[in-house]
Amino acid sequence: MSDVIKADEIAFRYSEEAPFAVDGVSLAVERGEFLVILGANGCGKSTLAKHFNAILLPTRGTVWVEAMQTSEEAHLYDIRQKVGMVFQNPDNQIVATVVEEDVAFALENLGVPPDEMRKRIDEAMEATDIYKYRERQPHKLSGGQKQRVAVAGVLAMNPDVLVLDEATAMLDPRGRGKIMRTVRRLNQERGITVVHITHYMEEAAMADRVVVMEEGRIAFTGSPKEVFSRAEELRRLHLDIPQTAELCEALTALGFTMPKGVITDEECAQLLFERLTQKQGGGR
């Protein structure tokens, strides 16, 4: 598969005196993948993400979006259209007074013909399940609903890559779950590449690949299962690990050996069921 975004040894600091927020990161995002960047506050994950559509330009190193270098201003417009970004605070990214006008905002600026625009905003609102709120005032929606409006606004631009920069951090679990399901579906059904920045481990569990960051660098990377097998390291980085992995760890410590990296409740229940029925019935 081709890489849609590629960061090559990049470093960034906000001012001459400041320490490097991103300090030597090389990372390739494959087309069609669902990548999660996980890390505690201040690890540089958001700063890294802002390099993916040229909001920030690296102090050192290079970022490529397909064949375009983000530092070349001539590509800015194309890069922003290819890589759409949704930010943390839902209240800071709504511009219109009616939901569907907000979703249409970018398209109006691009001069998309009205029929085409109608189709695209309707599709985007359907895909994010906000169609029923299309005539509502955004400020009267919940945070999760507003965030879906923001995702719809980006989606209407037909981006190749959706970057969610802690877009779920201010939402309740239901709002978060809904955004994650929406994004996962867009990833699977439409092949949109997703880069999701978060500190929630349950969201990382849904990824194809997880990158864990620490102090501006990549600490380690792997499948969710691989990453969550490293419970000690995650704790050291002040990250949560799934309760199922914790349970397996606790049981193992008590002499009831369970595997590592059990991250879903289905898998955990299945493993426990097999163990417990064997024990009781002497095997089936």
Binding site: N41, L247, A250, A269, R275, L276
Partner: protein, 290 residues
């Protein structure tokens, strides 16, 4: 020990008599005893925030009553200010409300408004800062130089400095990373333990409520769905899911085991208790839980 807060048939309607009139809470009657740690949970839009803004008279009931320490807070409108000091309300993202030049002034804003002497204000600022884990040298700094988690602690200290009898926090951990979340909630818990202040914690996180609250009020569609001790609430995990709340992942594992036909307890909401439950079951000592 009496009820610190009590509501009688409390209802609130936004935009009454307008086409978009919305009943946010409807006919809520409940009471909370002094010194308790109560968790309030419910899906977005269930009326949690509307309910708690009644606890210090920021909102006036459309109908029904709110009693603090046995007194009807709206009995005399002129007296409402008194109740604003009895209940300290920490809103969501309170760090957006910081405005003073220094941390010290910001925390002292409430106590100064209460008309306390400068010495008393100073003492309270220090006490509150200490409870919130803010080092003394931070007091002279601008709140705007601080990290998000620190700013949030300043905002909470500003409310604690008023020494409310009831401290109400709306999602105090929202948006924080796991470490920031644990720090803030631990501080609130130890403040509760050491001062005996009644605490209401509004949260979406079942894990957090499970860990900190003694009792839980579950709201749904503007009303009360359940109100019981934390353990009893989690014993009804399936109902919580039906309401649209998330239950801890570990609880889901046990619900699944039940579905698969194991007669195992499902009132599990901590990892430790989960491990014990599994071992007990494995040893065959706890075959029947239904």
């Amino acid at each position: 020990m009496g009820a610190i807060i009590r509501t009688e048939n409390l209802s609130y309607v936004y935009n009454p008599a307008m086409p978009d009139a919305t009943t946010a809470i409807s006919d809520i009657s409940f009471e909370m005893q002094e010194h308790e740690f109560l968790g309030i949970i419910g899906p977005t839009g269930c009326g949690k925030s509307t309910l708690i803004t009644h606890f210090n008279g920021l909102m006036r009931p459309t109908s029904g009553k709110v009693l603090i320490d046995g007194q009807d807070i709206w009995a005399d409108k002129k007296e409402i200010r008194k109740f604003r000091f009895l209940t300290g309300l920490v809103f969501q993202y309170p760090e957006y409300q910081l405005f003073e030049e220094t941390v010290e002034k910001d925390i002292g804003y409430g106590p100064r408004n209460m008309g306390l002497s400068p010495q008393e204000v100073d003492e309270r600022v220090r006490m509150a800062a200490d409870f919130c884990g803010l080092a003394p040298e931070m007091l002279s700094r601008s709140p705007f130089e601080l990290s998000g988690g620190q700013k949030r602690r300043v905002a909470i200290a500003g409310v604690i400095a008023m020494r409310p009898r009831l401290l109400v926090l709306d999602e105090p951990a929202a948006g924080l990373d796991p470490e920031g979340r644990d720090t803030i909630l631990e501080q609130i818990k130890s403040y509760h333990r050491e001062t005996g202040t009644s605490v209401v914690l509004v949260s979406h996180s079942m894990e957090d409520v499970a860990k900190y609250a003694d009792k839980v009020l579950v709201m749904k569609d503007g009303g009360i769905a359940m109100y019981d001790t934390t353990q009893q609430i989690f014993a009804r995990a399936q109902e919580l899911l039906d309401i649209g709340l998330s239950v801890p992942q570990i609880t889901k594992v046990f619900l699944r085991l039940r579905e698969m036909g194991l007669a195992i307890d499902t009132d599990v909401y901590t990892v430790k208790y989960a491990a014990e439950t599994v071992l007990r079951f494995a040893e065959g000592g706890d075959g029947d839980a239904s």
